[in-house]
Symmetry: C2
Subunit: 197 residues, 2 copies
């Protein structure tokens, strides 16, 4: 049982945080990527699947390669951001369950059902991607998630050694340039998309 | 550009937070559900799709109805938790884009591609479900996400008035009973599932 975080923390995580399209010329170091992983890995996934596989593109060469596969409007973001994470997922995550979920034979729940694995990998690696976004903000970083890219081309170029890994979405990370954000899109009131039973 | 949150806040959000299987006899009120929505709705979704539709089951009757559709091991959680959210998604979210994303004709990107809408609704409503989990923790609440349930039965029972809404996952919410948590499952080191390019 905890108390609510401060208003300043809620602002940083949710209310004042924005999606950035450009970043300041300020590096993000490897230690920060480790800090991000050490937070996001703690978030819950079904049967501790942890299906996300993350390729952190930090060198100008890697970001340039990735830029070749994203939509025109997303290309400049890859040049400006010090880091762009490829949030991928392992369709064969069940192979890791004997050590990730030692409480039960969870591997057998998925072994003969690739459709279930695809659904589960997508859902749970997306949860992890959201934990990444909020972990970045919690650590004082800004980010810009993107799904406007050619998944197959990214898989071929970056995941060729892992034929069972598929890209899910991308997320730029850095110290955001406030001048790069768009006008805030509308957010609906509770009653629009919620009901209480 | 922000500073990192305090260690206590990072503990509350990620490091010390756990998935609860039982809850204290302490209510969660409607105002808290509104607070949850007002935080989680601020999280980013692709083209501001906001495809999640949330049914908050709070009455004993609604939770009992929902309990009929979950796996045996999940049933007691529905009785113990003061709230269980059905995180659903609108496959026809694109109908809302003219007002949710007024910057561009985003509706046309999805109008003739139901497969793309299904993928996008699943990915983005899952992001919103993760924002819900972390918003709950940020507000001092505990939660227990679940995917062990009969999606079709939940859709028939709870979403019959909205044939284009489909259930994604469930999440109990309340003040967690520490005696109900399982032993922490392993969390891998950075090098296991990450690489830096």
């Amino acid at each position: 049982m905890s108390t609510p975080l401060s208003d300043a923390a809620l602002d940083q995580l949710f209310r004042e945080a924005r999606t950035y399209n450009g970043y300041l010329d300020r590096p993000v170091n490897e230690e920060q990527l480790h800090q991000l992983w050490d937070l996001l890995k703690m978030g819950p996934t079904s049967a501790n699947q942890l299906p996300a596989r993350i390729i952190w593109c930090t060198s100008p060469e890697a970001r340039e390669r990735l830029a070749a596969h994203v939509s025109a409007s997303n290309k400049p973001k890859l040049h400006s951001a010090p880091v762009c994470a490829i949030v991928a997922m392992d369709i064969d995550f069940h192979e890791q369950l004997p050590w990730l979920f030692p409480h039960a034979d969870a591997k057998s729940w998925f072994a003969n059902d690739e459709e279930l694995r695809k659904l589960s990998a997508l859902r749970n690696s997306t949860l992890q991607g959201a934990y990444l976004i909020l972990a970045a903000r919690a650590l004082g970083l800004d980010c810009g998630p993107m799904s406007g890219f050619d998944n197959e081309a990214v898989d071929k170029d970056f995941l060729a050694d892992h034929p069972r890994w598929k890209s899910n979405f991308l997320c730029t990370i850095g110290y955001g340039d406030r001048s790069s954000i768009f006008q805030r899109s509308p957010r609906p009131d509770f009653d629009t998309f919620n009901s209480i039973l």
